[in-house]
Symmetry: C2
Subunit: 584 residues, 2 copies
């Protein structure tokens, strides 16, 4: 049956051997004393929590869902207790500033933690999912009394936070927001408006909820330049109930354990966070971390779908395979893992999962370098890299996560369609990750239109140069470098030709992002191949692990190596006219 | 909000102008008196039933689901009444033999009927979904008293049927079935065993249920050659309850209005249908019609997802588009249908939907020609064509239907994840169509290993020759013919090289099927282009319809034209070694 086994071995391989993070920590004073062994212990404990506490609540939580009555929300059985265990374990503060009560560990380890949480129970993970972003937002913008009152409890996870952006008429386009904030004499604001799709807007996990709300001050300009960020707690400092109410929870395709709330702010008391009219910038501080975390959800879905599909394929026998491993005795029916179509599916899922893990951890390490590396130049290069990698990872990993789970479902045949097998829930839960925190189409526009074209692809060039250094010594280096070169070439054509057909970049954006993502995946595999070869040559134990890694690197090259060219060709084809649709 | 508008205009275009079916009927005595206008009236009435009776039950039926208590099943509110209206309207007997109480209309019209039923309410349509297959099975194999007792009521739909194949350990591999049938002195059999995933195994729509059961007679050979088909009614001719019981209904990802039953046959009384040990052949008579109908479900999902996505995109405004139609006034936010990523999604969905309709109707017409054409040679060629088209349509249309609905969901953004919008249900309902009636992987093996390779691709060659005749006069003819040539070439290489690497065809099967499907879609669009040009040149009215058709033909060529080459390249890449997965 369904289970989740934390992929600790592969995580260690990626962290230590592929991206060399533990060696890097030694050169970073912020991570003084942190070594590979300590990191491995942290992840082992995190894995235990995910597998033993969260995973058993995943299927039942989907069936129970959240219930709403008179403005209060009851989460599925076991959710509040699991959250208390999470807080007691100190997990919320893992990557927070020790000066604020945090443990000061790298984002990379926090990323691995959240990969495991999402894989084990995405619905539950929605509650603490915004916790770190809220911490960063308060850490950067809250001052004085506000900081003292809220930052420690947000850091520790004692109080959970929400991100109140969306309104019914304003999702991707935040410039249309109507929620208002009016100043009061005491320095607070009266916040009024309706928000939808607020994850954890109401819940029974924490005593208080800290809403971070985008609203418009009186007289503020229209559009996104007139938005301010306000902190609106469920309970006011004097203990009285603030006038913020949950009017309903949504009936969703998945993530049924997560309360998605319609919230009403009725002259609710709030305080400004950061500068007036600079709310979007403050919120984006949350958003960039949030987008990497959404990508990690996709990775978690891929991992848990893959490992369960593999076990199912080994256990279920149907029909004879056209070929059997040597020495395997003939039987009336072979395990379906021997059938070519299933082998191809499973190798694909594994190659995708492990390649995506390298990509996501590269980005997390870039965030750590950007925040904590002693060398200015390294910090600024890492920041630029993280900035470009974020939309790629958010979009690519959520798509591969959802479509990967959808493909994996087929391994169960008709049984995959049944709830108790577990996989259909992953398909449903994973779909929304392609939408929230900026749809994948918006990620593509963010990448190409806002981050690649404006500087003539200069920063993209730096990223591709960096990627090229990763493939040195690999048997796949030549192909990987050709990919990078082809990306450079199309980026240059896009920069030039946008002058005559300004819409081409928009039409090409999705395929451009995907081509870049696939090219980076190829680099990730080339790098993994080098690391595995090095380990084998070094005579390290665990040969089976490294041999399998090399087989997957080979599969990636043979079977998935055409994806970059395919998406580049699609981006080129998108030069063709794309008329407006006829009005019916 | 969600709705279903029967695509009657496009159906007429395909039936009359693209495949010229109404002209063909004139040459077929079986369809004496049937003309384009009569057919259009039949479809208009069918469309009314689908849109007005079934569509409103779709969302509520998903929420209500089926309930099981003490062996009885209650279907969602409104389902039984809708079924009575379906029977009263004479819809079950549409394409049945007039000698048996049928209306004798073409399979093509029955196909259009079922496309609409599935689009409006796939869950409900599961109940009558096997009706026509059961009719064919009884029509071919039931004799004497059995025929008299059951055929008329199955034809009229007064009693519904089930297809009892799957057992818990035997899904794709029916050779593993264990259900037994023991002869009794009176010529009946005692049937014992457990079946799962039986759609409509128990329901409250009809007074009796006619189970068609695959079982093994005592002493029968192992494997599929020892299977017999038995008719086991819920109520025996004397009115007593037969010992066949529904022990539970499954909790599924979708199709929640359809009761998927675990059935227990406890020395239940049944009668042999056809010859002993020839049960699979008798069942396959049901299966081929059933597979085309599953393809039609995919088409229905595509259609309903596409038309609702288009309306949503026209109604919702978010952000400014980089380009606007001339004369459209500037606004704070444009309808998202103007945004390039959405335009591309919608053109793709429309091109897929309408191309798939041509493909499915081509196959239905081939079934009609095979059954009713006066010319022997035409009948036999049509039969061979239907035989090859069936797995392609089952597999391609269900995949495009599910992935198309999944893509369409994105048009709603976060709202698409909410049940009341309707689209997330289509994503869930459509997934199983890729699995049941033979998984899509099995369709691919059926096509390449059982239908293409054994005769050295001779019949495939005939299909490709036929396809070539369809594209004459199109601006896309050159590319379409190149596709067909490339398919011939790879089929020839597969025939030859299978001798040295017998597993390559298995590794290549999915991409081979998909390449053939995409090549046929390109032909369908080339043919549609010719038909639209002819109508415009002929000065027919409705220019807007034909102009839009030409735009979609252009989009297909520009944006989707690379799909054949892509899948052929993947089939070639599948020459690479595909190792067994390491045992962990």
């Amino acid at each position: 049956m369904w289970s989740y086994v934390p992929p600790l071995r592969d995580m260690r391989f990626v962290i230590d051997e592929v991206i060399g993070a533990s060696a890097a920590w030694e050169r970073m004073p912020a991570f003084d004393g942190l070594d590979s062994e300590t990191a491995a212990q942290v992840l082992e404990e995190a894995g235990k929590f995910a597998a033993e506490v969260l995973a058993p609540l995943n299927g039942p939580g989907d069936l129970a869902g959240c219930t709403w009555a008179d403005g209060t929300v009851t989460t599925p059985p076991g959710y509040p207790a699991a959250y208390r265990a999470f807080v007691d374990g100190g997990w919320p503060a893992l990557a927070c500033d020790p000066a604020c009560g945090g443990q000061g560990l790298p984002q990379l380890l926090n990323a691995a933690l959240y990969e495991m949480l999402a894989a084990a129970n995405h619905g539950w993970t929605m509650y603490p999912g915004l916790l770190h972003g809220a911490y960063e937002c308060l850490h950067a913008h809250a001052s004085g009394e506000l900081r003292e009152r809220y930052l420690p409890k947000v850091t520790s996870g004692e109080w959970l936070s929400t991100m109140c952006l969306t309104e019914a008429h304003a999702g991707s386009d935040l410039g249309l927001l109507r929620t208002k904030a009016e100043p009061r004499a005491d320095g607070s604001y009266a916040v009024s408006g309706n928000k939808i799709f607020i994850s954890g807007g109401e819940q029974d996990l924490t005593d208080n909820i800290v809403h971070l709300v985008l609203a418009r001050l009186a007289g503020a300009p229209a559009g996104t330049k007139g938005l301010s960020l306000l902190l609106v707690p469920k309970f006011l400092p004097d203990g009285s109930r603030n006038t913020v109410f949950c009017d309903s929870v949504e009936k969703k395709m998945g993530l049924k354990g997560s309360a998605t709330c319609a919230m009403r702010f009725d002259s609710a008391t709030g305080w400004l966070l950061g500068e007036p009219n600079r709310g979007l910038a403050a919120m984006f501080l949350m958003m960039n971390a949030a987008r990497l975390h959404v990508g990690l959800q996709g990775l978690g879905h891929l991992e848990v779908a893959t490992q369960n599909a593999l076990r199912q394929a080994q256990e279920r026998a149907q029909s004879r395979a056209p070929r059997r491993p040597e020495g395997q005795p003939a039987a009336a029916a072979d395990p379906i893992v021997l059938h070519p179509a299933m082998r191809r599916t499973l190798w694909t899922l594994q190659a995708r999962t492990e390649g995506c893990r390298v990509l996501a951890y590269w980005a997390a390490q870039a965030l750590d370098d950007a925040a904590s590396h002693p060398d200015d130049a390294v910090r600024s290069a890492a920041d630029a890299r993280a900035c470009l990698l974020t939309p790629v990872i958010k979009s690519l990993l959520t798509e591969l996560g959802h479509l990967g789970a959808d493909t994996a479902l087929g391994v169960w045949g008709g049984h995959g369609y049944i709830h108790e097998m577990g996989i259909e829930q992953i398909v449903r839960d994973s779909r929304v990750a392609m939408i929230y925190e900026g749809t994948n189409e918006i990620q593509a526009i963010d990448l190409l239109l806002r981050k690649v074209l404006p500087d003539g692809a200069a920063k993209l060039g730096d990223l591709l140069d960096w990627a090229a250094t990763q493939v040195e010594g690999s048997t796949q280096a030549r192909v990987a470098l050709e990919n990078l070169q082809a990306l450079r070439a199309i980026a240059s054509r896009l920069c030039t030709d946008a002058a005559t057909d300004g819409e081409w970049p928009y039409r090409a954006a999705d395929d451009f992002l995907r081509a870049l993502g696939e090219a980076l995946l190829a680099c990730a595999w080339a790098r993994s191949e080098v690391a595995a070869c090095r380990a084998l040559e070094g005579g390290q134990g665990d040969r089976a692990f490294y041999d399998a890694k090399l087989q997957r690197a080979r599969f990636q090259a043979d079977y998935l190596g055409g994806e970059v060219a395919r998406h580049l060709a699609c981006a080129e084809r998108a030069r063709a006219e794309l008329p407006f649709l006829p009005v019916p």
